[in-house]
């Protein structure tokens, strides 16, 4: 004779420590940081490393590679691009040393500056090339 018995599955209580870790990881996930990191890592790590390594404007070979990647057919334009990249990197270094980061509103206002827009365009063009390489089979 087996009387009907109730039972509550102990799904949670016996794994408190694990849940705390899970919560921490979930918080990282919700912030977007974890996803961004894991997605980028899992996508094409070798390619990413390779591309990053090739975009070094102080290296003549890299300059040619960069021009190729960005599909810049004109050598003069390629030189201009490299100069611009150097200048941009220097400006970025300066910007990073300022105490207060710009607000979003200030960032949007800066977009009215033609040079800024040109620079953003160049960066996006670079990202385009990056994305194109990433989306191709290795």
């Amino acid at each position: 004779m087996a009387r009907p018995l109730s039972h509550t599955p102990a799904h949670v209580d016996h794994r408190t420590a694990q849940r705390q870790v899970d919560d921490f990881v979930a918080a990282l996930d919700e912030s977007g940081l974890l996803r961004a990191l894991t997605g980028a890592i899992r996508a094409h790590p070798e390619l990413a490393a390779q591309v990053t390594g090739r975009i070094d404007p102080d290296d003549a070979t890299a300059m040619a590679a960069l021009a190729g990647l960005l599909e810049v057919p004109d050598p003069d334009a390629a030189r201009r691009l490299v100069r611009a990249t150097r200048a941009g990197r220097a400006a970025a270094d300066d910007a990073l040393t300022t105490a207060e980061p710009p607000t979003w509103l200030e960032l949007v206002r800066r977009l009215h500056d033609a040079d800024v827009r040109r620079g953003v365009g160049a960066v996006l063009a670079g990202l385009r090339a990056f994305g194109r390489v990433m989306s191709r089979p290795a």
Binding site: R42, W104, L107, L127, F130, R132
Partner: protein
């Protein structure tokens, strides 16, 4: 605009071949499939054009204009140009390119491009590909927001008018595929948008949440809520961050053009999909056998996406299949074995639990013999698991005491087909139902119980003039659409069906050639029809004699007829005979063996067909090989190294319960069946479960049956394992592991393998494919079935020859009855139903499913969205019945009772139920209709007469609380007592039953073209 010709949407073995024909494109000769939309045919060539609004299952709807090409100097939409021999077009001309670019520009004027942070940026965004393919490199016009807010009133999906490009795919899918006819576009409005019921919030409309619209949406305008903010790397950004980010990118776009943005989003798509799994599975919510891709990240289900190549369903799903999978991650999943220990259950290791099961089963076999044990297989488990369940019973334990829940539902239909035509399965495919010129459904609430098949029938009726005859006690959704609706008295289907047959014979409307060439038994059958005059039928069924005559003539005149039936027929004590009557009617009119004809018992569970097919049945080895056949017995004795198996059939489910009460059955092994609730006369079954010496249960949750168990073994859900299911069309399909089992749960096949190992049978399976290989060797019906032939969306419909040839349509050349190639008309008598209303029990109580829930709700009540739509069971009755019983109103609590038991639930008034009758959804663990059903069974199949039930009714206000959502009954008590009594109607105000559909002819693009602000691109 050329109307696209009607074609079945489900896999269609009778479809004509699309022969390649020579076509000139830009001066090149291409060979393209005849009849295909040119835009589709060009997609696989170097001359592809975008086609944002073209979805193969919808056909050309001509709203986006991105596919324009030149023909004879004129621009034409290539989606609407069918491929034909000699066709000559120019794709790559300046004029055509400019026109396509113009069309692309128009699309993004109403769609804000923020692909990189869009949840639809999964590498397959149709809009993005279309705009890019149209040659748009820089946005010409500023994006124009609409004045409409996002509508998120539906629990499952949302609509964002600001992202909607008004392509109308969703409208076409709703109007002409699902045919709920809820969606439309107000083309004449200043700011057109997609409307639900002409302008209601989605959550208060007639929308049944089937998900078609979301599936076909080419962008992110319609999106699963489970995707929103979850799908992309950056899509979960806070709004305060998101908007400036979009502004930033927009500003940059003016300098850079769109290409860098496209590339950037492509990179993001690659990254997010590297972290997202896409896995094909097969749905478990009914016998239609819908297959689809499940997008997951870890155990999180992002979305379910059906695909055109799904053989049963193509792009179709119902609300449960599309959105009802929350249960997989429910908090109360069983994750570790449990062993009864005095007055409680305690957790145990697999080793301890399986050792105990093996020891106790062995002891009982030793003490009482093999037939003191029995196994119940699961119609929700895989074919391979059914095979192993019966192998456990037969090879390991040594008994034919093995059965499954088809005993509760489909055995009578199988019996009816065995008697008349041969195979116990659907005669053809879903595409045959679509091809039929007349479909008759009997005792089937198809719209709720087999929603995708109902959609196919509605579509065939709307788009191809199919005649729909519906016979049912209730005027349910499909009945409301029927060309002929027959409402017989309960339990009298055999009478009017036989009267129809008699009319057909009397009026010489039968297919004499077919009868002469392929059918035996006409004379005896004709004689058996003698009592069934239309007038007698009118007196007994309530259907008037003239209607019976006219329906008989309509049926006989149909070029291609199918009959579909379900539990409204089979769950009667005459279930086998009524099923036989329908097969007789089809034989009489020559409706077998041709495309668009046949008999279709609609299987209710995902694998109730396969569970019997693969051997979990007391009278057959796998593939319906008789246990009393000497050669068959010898074959299995040799294969399994067991030569002492009986040559007599074992106990079926009811026999097992009786044998426990009689003291003859001492051990019961139940795999995923809630027999304590779903078997008739539940109290009687529960008493048996208390008595049995040893009970083992495999389950996902701690079910009512588990309460009686000695050992409970945590099982994997369908999404957590590999295997195959067989749907109602006899179609075998693979399911793949979407995610690993939760906790320490295991798939049934692995549990059974490890148990057999402990009992001295070393099966050694490490994957279900090995089980299928063994089945194919031992079972002629499945000789050619292998996982290689079932890869991805490939499927096979049994019987399958060794070379892989399958049979989508049976009986094309011969019937398979008793070794002859002829069918047989089977004479029948009528017997009165068993439990008819009387003075004490005045109301007939019908029972069954609702759209939003599967069976008693163990799975679907764990979906918050589904429980929101239908929170609990109820008793549905007409206003007159309510008046006659004290002026009841919707929301009043009542108790239904008879001598076996009672249930208390709330009243729902509706006009679907006839006066003097009730309808109670079986979706409840508290208000269990089977507390009242009887032990009466169909003598030919042992299926309970669930639908033969008379009850008394009385008010019960404030007596009992039965709230939901969530797990009911014992579970709720464990959580600390019931919440407050709910009041008001048992269905929410926004339930789709209360909506007001807006039928129209698809998207009605001509109304768009008639707008003053519309010009044809390039003109």
């Amino acid at each position: 605009m050329p109307a696209s010709p009607f074609r079945p949407l489900s896999e269609d073995a009778a479809a004509p071949e699309q022969e390649p024909v020579a076509v000139r494109v830009d001066g090149h000769t291409l060979y393209l499939p005849m009849g295909q939309p040119l835009a589709t045919a060009l997609a696989a060539t170097d001359h592809a054009v975008p086609a944002v609004c073209l979805e193969p299952s919808l056909g050309p709807i001509e709203t986006c204009d991105t596919c324009l090409v030149e023909r004879d100097g004129r621009l034409e939409r290539s989606c609407a140009v069918p491929v034909e021999a000699g066709l000559e077009v120019q794709v790559d001309t300046a004029r055509a390119r400019a026109a396509r670019e113009e069309a692309g520009q128009r699309l993004i004027r109403t769609h804000e491009l923020y692909c990189t942070i869009c949840d639809n940026n999964n590498g397959d965004c149709v809009l993005k590909h279309g705009v890019e393919g149209a040659g748009v490199r820089r946005q010409r016009d500023e994006y124009e927001a609409t004045p409409y807010a996002v509508d998120d009133s539906n629990p499952f999906y949302q609509y964002d008018p600001d992202q909607c490009i008004l392509c109308g795919r969703c409208v076409e899918a709703c109007q002409n595929v699902q045919v709920t006819e809820t969606l439309s576009i107000d083309w004449e409005a200043d700011e057109p948008r997609v409307l639900w019921d002409g302008g209601a919030p989605i959550g208060e409309s007639s929308c049944v949440s089937c998900g078609h619209c979301v599936t076909v949406c080419p962008c992110n305008a319609l999106m699963e809520k489970s995707m929103v903010g979850r799908a992309g790397l950056f899509t979960g950004l806070p709004q305060s961050f998101r908007e400036p980010a979009i502004d930033l990118v927009k500003a940059a776009e003016s300098e850079t053009g769109l290409l860098p943005l496209f590339e950037l989003s492509r990179a993001e798509a690659s990254a997010r999909m590297a972290d997202t799994e896409v896995t094909k599975t097969v749905c478990t919510y009914c016998g239609v056998g819908c297959s689809f891709d499940v997008y997951t990240r870890g155990r999180e289900i992002l979305k379910v996406e059906p695909r055109e190549e799904g053989p049963a369903n193509a792009i179709s799903t119902c609300v449960k299949g599309k959105f009802g999978w929350d249960f997989v991650n429910a908090d109360d999943r069983l994750t570790t074995p449990l062993i009864r220990d005095g007055e409680r259950f305690r957790e145990a290791s697999w080793e301890e639990a399986l050792d105990l099961v093996a020891r106790r089963l062995g002891e009982i076999v030793d003490q009482h013999g093999p037939d003191a044990t029995a196994v119940i297989g699961s119609s929700k488990a895989t074919n391979e698991e059914s095979y192993l369940a019966q192998k456990l019973a037969r090879q390991v334990l040594g008994t034919h005491n093995v059965d499954n829940c088809s005993r509760y539902c489909q055995a009578p239909a199988t019996m009816g087909l065995w008697r008349t035509v041969g195979y116990g399965g659907d005669s053809g495919s879903i595409s045959d139902m679509e091809r039929a010129t007349l479909v008759m459904t009997v005792g089937s609430n198809t719209s709720d119980s087999h929603p995708v098949i109902a959609a196919r029938l509605r579509r065939a009726q709307k788009r191809n003039g199919q005649t729909l005859v519906v016979a049912d006690l209730r005027e349910h959704e499909l009945a409301q659409r029927a060309d002929v609706f027959l409402r017989p008295e309960p339990g009298t289907d055999l009478v009017w069906l036989s009267a129809m047959a008699r009319v057909i014979l009397d009026e010489d409307l039968a297919d004499d050639t077919f009868l002469a060439e392929r059918v035996d038994g006409l004379d005896d059958y004709r004689a058996s029809l003698e009592p069934f005059t239309p007038e007698y039928a009118e007196r007994r069924t309530g259907i008037d004699a003239d209607t019976i005559r006219s329906t008989a003539r309509l049926f006989a005149a149909a070029e291609r007829a199918c009959i579909l039936w379900a539990m409204g027929v089979t769950q009667h004590h005459m279930g086998s005979d009524t099923s036989t009557a329908m097969a007789n009617l089809l034989l009489l009119t020559g409706n077998f063996g041709r495309p668009g004809t046949g008999a279709y018992p609609l299987r209710g569970h995902n694998n109730v067909q396969g569970c019997s097919d693969f051997g979990s049945i007391n009278s057959f080895y796998p593939g319906y090989q008789d246990v009393d056949d000497e050669q068959v017995a010898a074959k299995f004795a040799d294969a399994w190294d067991r030569d002492d198996l009986a040559r007599q059939k074992g106990l079926d489910n009811h026999g097992m319960v009786e044998a426990i009460h009689d003291g003859d059955l001492h051990a019961l092994y139940v795999i995923g069946e809630e027999i304590a609730l779903v078997d008739a006369n539940a109290h009687y079954v529960q008493e048996a479960l208390e008595k049995v010496d040893f009970l083992v249960v495999h389950e996902l949750f701690f079910s009512t049956t588990a309460e009686y168990a000695d050992v409970v073994l945590p099982a994997a859900a369908s999404l957590e394992k590999d295997g195959t299911f067989t749907n109602t069309e006899r179609r075998i399909q693979r399911l793949y592991e979407v995610m690993p089992p939760v906790g320490d749960a295991r798939p049934d096949w692995l549990i059974l393998t490890e148990l057999a190992d402990r009992m001295g049978r070393h099966w050694g399976y490490t994957h279900p494919s090995q089980v299928m290989d063994e089945i194919a060797e031992l079972t002629p019906m499945f000789a050619g079935v292998s996982y290689d032939r079932l890869t991805g969306y490939d499927s096979l419909q049994w019987p399958v020859d060794a070379d892989g040839t399958d049979q989508p349509l049976l009986y094309t050349d011969a019937f398979t009855l008793d070794g002859t190639d002829r069918a047989r008309l089977y004479p029948l008598d009528f017997r009165e139903p068993s439990d008819q209303p009387d003075d004490q029990h005045a109301l007939h109580c019908n029972n069954g499913r609702v759209l939003e829930h599967f069976h008693e709700g163990n799975l679907t009540m764990r979906s918050a969205g589904l429980a929101d739509r239908v929170p609990d069971t109820y008793v549905e009755m007409s206003r007159r019945t309510a008046e006659d019983h004290g002026g009841l109103r919707s929301g009043d609590w009542v108790t239904l009772s008879n001598e076996r038991g009672e249930i208390t639930t709330r009243v729902l008034l509706s006009e679907q139920v006839a006066d003097g009758q009730l309808y109670v959804p079986v979706t409840s663990n508290d208000a269990r209709v089977n507390d009242m059903t009887s032990n009466v069974v169909d003598p030919d199949s042992q299926t309970p007469a669930y639908k033969e039930l008379a009850v008394a009714i009385r008010r019960a206000d404030h007596e009992v609380s039965h709230p939901a959502p969530g797990r009911h009954g014992a579970d709720r008590e464990r959580r600390g007592g019931p919440p407050e009594d709910p009041t008001g109607s048992p269905l929410p105000r926004g339930h789709h039953r209360y909506g007001s559909p807006t039928p129209q002819d698809g998207v009605e693009v001509r109304r768009k073209w008639a707008r003053d602000d519309y010009t044809f691109p390039g003109r």
